[in-house]
Structure formats: structure tokens, C-alpha cells
Symmetry: C2
Subunit: 239 residues, 2 copies
């Protein structure tokens, strides 16, 4: 209750930023439901930055996407004053350095290093393993990925000390880790429960109940639709 | 000549930092010849930070390494005031934020984002492909990795606009990319020449001629010895 009120007050206070940002021209090339895009959306909403969402069709990528991200040709791409930035974690650092209200990174250099370490860990060890656990056709590979994911989640479980990875408020590691509760919910993937990774289980609920996450998260149907497209594309590629 | 003088003057001016850093207790757990460790060493020397090198035997990892990097159990680990940081790019950001002299990151948020993007690109697309190109036993896989590496180098060739990726002075992207000239030299890997990736070829020479790089780079024999150990370990693992 108090949290919701605090968030509301913060958003009102950020009103001037919203207008300023909108005038500056912030665009986000993305697909509704992509966890990497949701990362950027949560950060922008936390900062109170108004932006234009430019939907991308992953089966038929736009000229704009190919121009703005010629290296990976992937979403999300944040475009600020016509200058593009890709790779979700790079975008999150840019957002935090450009709009300094409601910081998502800790201010202390050591804590910042730890946050970067865990974000990289999530991408290297958990996201890839989670995707393989869901999408891999080969059962042996899927089982291997599932074990790797469990090992990764154990490290995160041990690392979680407070309400969020960022302390009392959502921070960069929470945003990076959103993949985990999302897969748990959407793919009905039994990653954790009260008995298995209880701290991650509790964190997942706190995360979903955060007003900014609630406001930003696409509907379950939209997330299903996104994962369906991804699955089909992966299946077509593996043929 | 002027560059060398400038560097010398800078080092003299940093004298006080050297002493301060030494008193603060900076340790680097590493193996002589590891490119990831050399990244950290170059940054520390550029900043004028005195540190204690703690050699690690990769075939028999120390209790200290397992304590300080329980997640990856890998070098390098930087220990500052008894607090450990691992992952070379995370360490480089920490070094730049902790000792602000001779910055290795650009000050502008957009340029910082670009630097982070290229560092990630080097690690994701070039380092892995380069290692596979050298160490993969399967010829088909090796050829595939070699093509991937060529694609990656083409992007870097196009990105290189000045003497260094960092402009007139060495920056974070140059340090991250040291893998490339190193493999060219040590593994006699014909990655580039005057005719093939001419800008990278020139950059590679400038990089090796930089006084800090010259001072920091282990001898060719030490680098050979390191790669020999890595090759043997990989061969043993693939049996």
C-alpha cells in the first residue's frame, strides 16, 4: 500500500521528465512479450520516460531494425535523438546514466561491479539454459540445460538477501532476472516453489506485484503469443 | 616519441596514486599469459595502480580462487581491500570507476554505451570464435568458427575510425580486443595483413607499440606456455 503510494508520488514528481523525454524523441524498437524488450520498458517506466513503441515483426524484420542494429539485427533497440543502442543490458546502463532519477544501479563502485557481475551471470548462465530447457528438441540436451539452470538459480537464491536483488527497491539485477518469473508464469515451468528456491519464489511474487512491473508487463496472452512465434521460428531453423 | 614522453610524464604524475593504491591492497589472481588477465594488467598500469600478482595454477586451482570466484572458478580475480571482483570486463569498469585518472571509458553516455556494445561483441562474437578457430578438433566446426571470426573482424574493421578504438589513446575497446593481435602473434594465426583487414593490421601494430602495452605484455614464450596449458586442458576435457 505504502509502496504503491510512494510510486505514485514519484511518478507525479517525474512529470516534468516525462514531457522532456517525449520532446527528446525516445523510440523503442521491440516486440510485445519479448523479455529483453520488457527489461527496457520497465527501466523507462521506472524513470518516468515517455517513449514511442515501434513494433517489429521478427519474421520480417524492418529496414529500420537492420539499419539500427546491423550487427545482431535483434530487438530491443532504443533510439534516443536518432542515435540507436542495442543489447538490453547496454541499453539499461545508458538509461541509468542518461536519466539519473530513480537509479537502477547502486552508486557504490563495488556494488555496481557486483550488479554487473550478476546481470552477466543471468544472461550467460540462466537465460540461455532456461531457453534451452524449454525449446531444445533433444531430450538429453534439454535435461543438461535444466540442470545448468538449477545450478544458476541456486547461486541467485543464495545471493538474494533483501526484498529485491536491488534492496528495498527494484534494481538492475531484478530487471535482468525477470526472465525467470516470466518463464515460470508463461511456460508454466516449475522453476521454483515454496519448497524449491523459496527466496526466488517470494521474490518473484514481490516482483510481479511491484506497481511499475504490473503496469509494464504485457498480458499473459501477449506473452504466450510471443513465445509461440519464437518456438515456431526455432523449430523452423532446426529443420 | 612524443607519446612515450607523455606516457612517462603521466606515470610520474601518478606517483602518489601508485603509493596510495599499494597501501589500499590491490591483488590480482591470474596466470601469466592469459589474455583476460592481461586486460586487467594493462588497465592497472594505465592507471598507475601498484598491485600484487598472485599466480594461479589452472590445473590445480587454489582455495583462494575458489573462495573469491565460487561461481566461475576462473581468473582473473581482482581483490581490492579484500573484496573480490571477477569477469574481466566487470573488473575493467570497476577500475575505471574507482581510479578516475587516465579514463579508459568515454565520458559521454552514448559513447560509453557504444564502448560497452563493442566489448560485449568482442567477447560474444570474436573471442569465442577465435578460440574455436584455434582449438576445435573437428575441422567442420573449426571452419565455421573461422568464418564467424572473419565476420566479426569485418565489423571491427568498419568500426575503427582513429588510431585506436578509443581515439588517440587506448581505451576499453582496445583493451578488450587485445585478444586479436595476441592470437595473430602467438598462434601465428593469419587473421589480418596489409591486404586483409588493413585497419586492424595497423591498429595491432600501434597497440603493441604503446608504451603501457609494451611494458605489460608477457614475453612470447610466456604466452606460448599459457596457450599450451589451455590447449592441453581442452584436449583432456574433450577425451
Amino acid at each position: 500500500m505504502i509502496n504503491t503510494l510512494v510510486a505514485k508520488v514519484k511518478r507525479v514528481l517525474q512529470g516534468c521528465n516525462v514531457i522532456a523525454a517525449s520532446e527528446e524523441g525516445v523510440k523503442l524498437l521491440g516486440s510485445v512479450g519479448s523479455p529483453f524488450v520488457i527489461r527496457v520498458q520497465i527501466a523507462l517506466v521506472l524513470k518516468g520516460i515517455d517513449y514511442k513503441f515501434v513494433p517489429e515483426n521478427l519474421a520480417n524484420k524492418s529496414e529500420l531494425l537492420l539499419k539500427y542494429n546491423p550487427v545482431y539485427k535483434k530487438i530491443p533497440v532504443l533510439v534516443h535523438n536518432e542515435k540507436p543502442i542495442s543489447e538490453s543490458l547496454v541499453i539499461l546502463e545508458y538509461i541509468d546514466e542518461t536519466w539519473t532519477q530513480n537509479p537502477i544501479f547502486p552508486s557504490d563502485p563495488y556494488q555496481r561491479a557486483m550488479a554487473r557481475f550478476w546481470c552477466k551471470f543471468i544472461d550467460d548462465k540462466c537465460v540461455a539454459a532456461a531457453l534451452k530447457s524449454v525449446f531444445m528438441v533433444d531430450e538429453k540436451e534439454r535435461k543438461k540445460a535444466s540442470e545448468e539452470l538449477s545450478n544458476g538459480l541456486q547461486f541467485l537464491e543464495d545471493e538474494l538477501k533483501d526484498k529485491f536483488f536491488g534492496g528495498e527497491e527494484i534494481g538492475i539485477v531484478d530487471i535482468a532476472a525477470l526472465f525467470i518469473p516470466l518463464l515460470q508464469e508463461v511456460a508454466e515451468f516449475h522453476l521454483f516453489s515454496k519448497g524449491k528456491f523459496p527466496k526466488l519464489h517470494k521474490w518473484s511474487r514481490e516482483f510481479y506485484n511491484h506497481p511499475v512491473v504490473k503496469e509494464t508487463m504485457p498480458s499473459k496472452e501477449q506473452q504466450f503469443a510471443y513465445f509461440k512465434v519464437v518456438t515456431e521460428r526455432l523449430a523452423a531453423l532446426s529443420k
